[in-house]
């Protein structure tokens, strides 16, 4: 029984083949089952050390990786921007080399600069997992989205997936686009033209600025959070206007097919990109995404961590 996996790092979905993505999803099935056992812990990464290195703030991704590592019996250290020596002027490479000198086996990195995980992955023996780098990629989020779609609809190929919101600044959107296109889904991006420029068509997706035309033939709607913290004023006039044109309101949700899935990577801004009734409604799989995120991260840590030390 050999694997179809040979990478020590997970940097993005752009570089993965459809077969590799499917292999991660199949491995995730096995780890999702562990969550239903009486003892939800397996010894797969016993004795390994994982460093959660988060230069940008994050709660759910970091805790999800942390819990995934615990369930695989790895030891975990958390380092955030404020507690690291980066604030004392140490370079990223020096900090990482220090971590390696402590024999860290897996480095989970969130960084505001695109390419930071690749930079470290090329230089370190340790396995590097990208937990979000700038506006570049967030591969584990896209993998858990793909897994959730596959779980709920039984397939991905041929489905029409509509991604709505701040595409330009979204690493989640980018990773989702790479993964969905490789697995044969039809993808439409929706949002104001400032945040969803036509350039994205080069990635093999459709672009629309009129949400009401797209919703009736969607199989999956993935809503992205409007990132106030990244947004500059010139991109759109205001939150109220965004909701009026692109928010998934109660009324707009009636346009959707009855079996259309509603997804959101979280944290959700209730009343902005999605109404409360819709977020908590029957079509919403937002909490399934959180559960599946744990299983996906266990699979990724097992595969990359196992390869790095082999």
């Amino acid at each position: 029984m050999s694997t179809r996996w040979s990478r020590k790092d997970l940097l993005g979905l752009r570089e993965l083949s459809a077969e590799e993505i499917n292999f991660i999803l199949e491995t995730t099935d096995a780890f999702k089952q562990v969550g239903t056992r009486e003892i939800k812990k397996v010894p797969a990464l016993r004795g390994k050390t994982l460093v959660n290195f988060f230069i940008e703030p994050s709660t759910r991704t970091r805790t999800s990786f942390e819990l995934a590592a615990f369930r695989l019996s790895a030891d975990v250290i958390n380092i955030s921007a404020t507690t690291s020596s980066l604030t004392k002027g140490e370079t990223l490479k020096d900090t990482a080399r220090n971590l390696e000198a402590l024999h860290a086996d897996i480095l989970v990195l969130r960084h505001s600069s695109a390419g930071a995980p690749q930079f470290l992955g090329n230089r370190l023996k340790a396995s590097v997992i990208n937990a979000g780098d700038g506006a570049h990629e967030h591969p584990t989020q896209a993998l858990l989205d793909l897994y959730t779609i596959r779980e709920k609809r039984g397939k991905i190929a041929g489905l029409h997936v509509v991604i709505i919101g701040d595409i330009l600044f979204s690493r989640v959107a980018r990773s989702n686009i790479f993964g969905l296109v490789k697995l044969g889904a039809r993808v439409t991006l929706v949002g104001p033209s400032t945040l969803v420029p036509r350039e994205f068509e080069k990635l093999g997706v459709e672009v629309s600025h009129k949400i009401d035309n797209v919703l009736p033939n969607a199989d999956v709607v993935n809503l992205l959070r409007i990132q106030h913290e990244r947004q500059r004023k010139e991109y759109f006039p205001g939150i109220g206007e965004y909701t009026r044109f692109f928010g998934l309101t109660k009324e707009r949700a009636k346009l959707l097919k009855a079996d259309c899935l509603i997804m959101h990577p979280g944290p959700i801004n209730r009343g902005v990109e999605i109404d409360s009734e819709v977020a908590d409604g029957l079509q919403s799989v937002i909490l399934d995404q959180v559960t599946n995120g744990l299983a996906v991260r266990m699979a990724v840590l097992y595969l990359c961590g196992g390869i790095a030390t082999a």
């Binding site: 029984m1 050999s2 694997t3 996996w5 491995t27 099935d29 096995a30 780890f31 999702k32 089952q33 562990v34 056992r37 009486e38 003892i39 939800k40 812990k41 397996v42 010894p43 797969a44 990464l45 390994k48 695989l72 699979a299 097992y302 595969l303 961590g305 196992g306 390869i307 030390t309 082999a310």
Partner: protein, 185 residues
Amino acid sequence: MKQRKQNSSAAVPIMDAEAIRRALQRIAHEIIERNPQLAQVVLAGIPSRGVEIAKRIADFIRGIEKIDIDTGIIDVAMHRDDVGTRPELPVVRASKLPVPLEERTVIIVDDVLYTGRTVRAAMDAINSFGRPAQIQLAALIDRGHRELPIRADYVGKNLPTAANEKVRVRIGSINEPDGVWLIKE
């Protein structure tokens, strides 16, 4: 395992389909004899051939005793003690066992019993589902060379081997007949 390599190594036939059928039928009888509370028995196959062997034994028990016993799948990849020391990572598959396991007798089913390390990993995996009353072990082939204090309760065939030999088992293939071969390198 599905393709037979045509190189210098010699494959000596050990069991044909009929011999395997008879061995599994005998194991079914032994399980019935050893376990008066047959309804409490769970046959847990180790992927992939152990799962097929467990299914066949369950079929024989159904034929003899008219009782459907539970079967399950117990994946050992994430419970192995050698992750990171082997050149290739074992594929993990989802386990499936009926719960709760308390009061049940779980019989681990595998194709070849060798060092015993796989069985140890399987026992760890079973314990993470609960605490069965008893764990037993059935193997189609026992080839010896144990590295742990583990012994099978039910054996299809004892096969003395050298450490540099390999045992190939084919069972449940769509195109080709079942069989067991000893491969001398």
